[in-house]
């Protein structure tokens, strides 16, 4: 039998030293942003019943879930997302909570990616959910917090992109497509598969909705996009565009101009999940969005409480990787002092170390019996000085 005792499963990795420091620093920064806006933390189980992730308005396909069974043979999964467990919480312990409710989380999630895709199957995700508030006000609050989060990453280049899930259903509803065709069309629209999109829509001749769909998939960029869209959109879709433009202008007013963009070629993967404004955040050096979010007004009703909600999630590992690349891996500070003591002075060394720490320095022992080895150790750690404590010696050795 082949042993896998030296490997971690595909899609997982150990994080060490600076990698941990980078991840924790991102998590801490986000926590501060969330709590400063009055959001309260929830932690949900890593294990959930499969049913939580298999609802009418949103479901995860079996392929992406890590599954196991409990003692009664029921199917459980490793949490692939935190929003659905929070919707479950809304249907149970938080059923009678005063709305609006502002929640945040910071926990690992698990997704089984295709083999050799190079993506993480396990990663830290943090985010907020604003539940039960007025739609316009909540949208602006969550968007502005998401924008603040993006700015906090301090990336070389970043974009905050908004869209609306309402265009696609509106423009596709009157084309009389069968369910499978509609799913195909949605896929072409989202993936900007222009050849397939054009071919399918050409069937409808000069139908204005079809022409608008073909154009909308291609419309993304800055402010100019709205004027372009106005030329092709039917009257019925204009209110959605107006609302989106207002949001765009508001974000520019919040100091995001030049960073905020719009993509009108957005649609939810299924008709039922996103129900309004959606948004994504990109940073240079990472090939996928690091932040995704949007309005989901139907999900919580699947858990028995009909209340609107919006929120976003951040891939902390992705942001931490970018931070690490930029910093060149110097995130863990070196100790100010390393202390070495001979056999008779171990307790004295401990006392001295405590004294230094109480003064705000970082100090550590060289847990080695040999003095020269201790000096080498202190150098390796990048310490500024080595404190030697023996019965005859009590001195500081500066280190280069």
């Amino acid at each position: 039998m082949k042993k896998y005792d030296l490997l971690t499963p595909e899609g997982t990795r150990d994080l060490i030293f600076d990698e941990c420091a980078a991840l924790r620093s991102v998590g801490e920064k986000l926590r501060q942003i969330y709590t400063s806006h009055g959001y309260s933390e929830v932690i949900t189980p890593g294990l959930e019943f499969f049913d939580v992730f298999n609802n009418k308005s949103r479901h995860y396909s079996q392929e992406v879930l890590y599954k196991l069974t409990d003692g009664k043979g029921r199917i459980m999964v490793l949490r692939p997302d935190s929003t659905m467990p929070i919707a479950r919480l809304m249907g149970t312990r938080l059923r009678t909570a005063t709305l609006p409710l502002k929640l945040f989380y910071n926990q690992t999630i698990y997704r089984a990616n295709p083999k050799e895709s190079g993506r993480d199957d396990e990663f830290f995700q943090s985010g907020v959910e604003l539940i039960g508030g007025d739609v316009m006000r909540s949208d602006m609050e969550v968007l502005s917090i998401a924008a603040e989060v993006m700015q906090s990453f301090d990336a070389a280049e970043q974009r905050f992109e908004i869209g609306d899930s309402g265009f696609f259903p509106l423009l596709s509803s009157k084309l009389g497509l069968k369910e499978q065709e509609l799913d195909d069309l949605r896929e072409y629209f989202i993936s900007k598969n222009y050849p397939a999109l054009d071919e399918m829509l050409s069937r409808f001749g000069g139908n204005t909705d079809a022409e608008a769909l073909a154009k909308m998939s291609r419309l993304f960029g800055g402010k100019e996009v709205f004027a372009e869209a106005r030329k092709v959109l039917p009257e019925g879709a204009k209110p959605i565009l107006d609302r989106l433009e207002k949001v765009f202008d508001s974000l520019c007013g919040l100091g995001m101009s030049g960073e905020v963009t719009v993509d009108l070629g957005f649609a939810g993967k299924t008709e039922d999940y996103y129900t309004g404004i959606v948004f994504k955040g990109y940073i240079e050096g990472y090939g996928m969005p690091v932040l995704t979010g949007g309005r989901y007004d139907r999900l919580i009703a699947d858990f028995g409480v009909d209340t609107p909600a919006t929120g976003f999630a951040v891939n902390e590992n992705a942001v931490a990787d970018a931070l690490l690349k930029r910093s060149g891996g110097m995130l863990t500070p070196a100790p100010d002092v390393v202390i070495w003591a001979d056999d008779d002075n171990i307790v004295n060394a401990i006392k001295y170390c405590r004294e230094l720490i109480s003064k705000g320095l970082t100090a550590e022992y060289a847990d080695l019996a040999d003095r020269d080895a201790a000096r080498e150790y202190a150098k390796t750690r990048g310490a500024k000085t080595l404190r030697v404590m023996t019965t005859t010696d009590n001195m500081e050795e500066p280190l280069e």
């Binding site: 295709p114 050799e116 895709s117 190079g118 993506r119 280049e157 974009r159 992109e161 993936s191 900007k192 598969n193 222009y194 050849p195 397939a196 993304f220 960029g221 963009t261 993509d263 990109y282 240079e284 050096g285 990472y286 090939g287 996928m288 969005p289």
Partner: protein, 187 residues
């Protein structure tokens, strides 16, 4: 947004690479390095601020999906086989072939109620009787003919596609749209 940002394109080694290099030449790019590449896998197009990465078909998809390359040229067959998240913005028209079901000539493939075995590499499987048919790429059909096999059904038409990383599309919009338009205009 900077109009001349460096861009990295992944090409599927082999026939699609040759066709794309031909297209670049028509577009007026200096392809000397691409033609005299030796064993190098990352090549420059002077004056275009563009890097070309040569890779296996499946790797082109991985590179573009993860953002190691901004855009890629890959066959529709690889896209269908691997899926993934990227934009599939253009059909380049070349690299055209059929993805088809073939069997031994004269075999009534759909006849009867027995279970049929389909292999995915020709031409040996049906001839060695370990499969009743094969589903694979058919370019000229010569290999099939010489081995007494015949196409009985086309599954899907295949050609080279231009795929784009979802973040690059947004961060390098102008540059990518310019390049795509230029490529399409010279097909």
């Amino acid at each position: 947004m900077n109009g001349n940002k460096a861009i990295r394109i992944a090409l599927t080694k082999g026939r699609l690479e040759k066709d794309t290099v031909g297209l670049f030449e028509k577009m007026g790019f200096d392809v000397t390095e691409l033609k005299e590449k030796g064993r190098r896998l990352i090549l420059n197009i002077p004056g275009e601020n563009m890097e070309v990465v040569l890779a296996k078909a499946a790797d082109v998809i991985t590179y573009v999906e993860l953002g190691a390359c901004d855009i890629g040229v890959v066959g529709k067959d690889t896209i269908l086989e691997h899926g993934g998240k990227y934009f599939e913005v253009a059909d380049l028209g070349f690299g055209r072939c059929r993805f088809a079901l073939a069997t031994k000539k004269g075999l009534d493939f759909y006849g009867g109620v027995g279970v049929k075995t389909v292999a995915t590499k020709y031409p040996k499987a049906p001839l060695l009787k370990i499969a009743d048919g094969i589903v694979d790429i058919v370019e000229t059909g010569t290999t099939l003919k010489e081995n007494g096999l015949a196409v009985i059904e086309d599954v899907v038409p295949i050609s080279a596609r231009l795929i784009v990383n979802t973040v690059s599309m947004k961060l390098k919009k102008e540059r990518i749209e310019q390049l795509t338009d230029l490529m399409l205009s010279q097909l």
